[in-house]
Symmetry: C2
Subunit: 138 residues, 2 copies
């Protein structure tokens, strides 16, 4: 299990460091998404704030995690389960935010719909965030 983490880092051409292992582990043992603040609370005593920022940024660039837009000035991050590669993400799934537990989940099996846009607009990417009550809270 721990070697899985090392392997994933190496596969992404990243050197294996304690902070990267720890932060990646947090994502693996977490069902929902994590905001920067969450990670800092769970791993921040061990690592510097700046390291967390840089690690998240690196993971996004390498296609290990992806961002989820929010309406409250706090980006959330979640593991890419699709085959995202360095520089190019392929996460086309819907995200769910629970109004009860306030968790954010990737609905990996729910693909984003195609939207018919007015003429002149071209669609390159689409983000869908559904709010409601999650399966754990209902």
């Amino acid at each position: 299990m721990n070697s899985d983490i090392k392997e994933l880092l190496k596969k992404s051409q990243l050197s294996v460091t304690a902070s990267r292992e720890k932060i990646l582990q947090l994502f693996l043992e977490q069902e929902g998404a994590l905001a920067h603040g969450d990670i800092e609370k769970k791993a921040g005593e061990k690592f510097d704030r700046v390291t967390v920022y840089r690690t998240l940024q690196t993971f996004v660039e390498k296609g290990i995690i992806h961002t989820i837009p929010t309406s409250d000035n706090s980006i959330r991050y979640a593991l890419c389960k699709d085959d995202c590669a360095s520089g190019h993400h392929h996460d086309h799934h819907v995200h769910f935010v629970c109004n009860e537990c306030n968790n954010t989940f990737c609905l990996d099996d729910v693909v984003t719909p195609t939207i018919k846009l007015p003429s002149g607009y071209s669609q390159e990417h689409i983000e869908v965030v559904v709010k409601g009550v999650c399966k754990h809270c209902s």
Copy 2:
């Protein structure tokens, strides 16, 4: 035109003040959405930063403007053209972010689709943000 602004404020049970008039005017003469920073640049020399924050917050509460989620820690705001009331918004349209001009637009005529969720999840609200090239830039 200026009386329109006063009327809208009164209709929302808000006292008519210089800052509210000015900020509301900015939204009316703007096609796309505005971030807090934009408003501060355009009206910030006349009004305090705090006033801008409080005005935006009030406008959202009163159903005059709505927020648009982003992936870059900067909420954007746009006029509600639907019949949003105090406390309850009814904006069910798609938002568009242009990768060229970096503007955000409300596609008021494009309604958000219904998403089939896994069992256990209930849908209360849905946000759809499409990224691509807008009609002005294509």
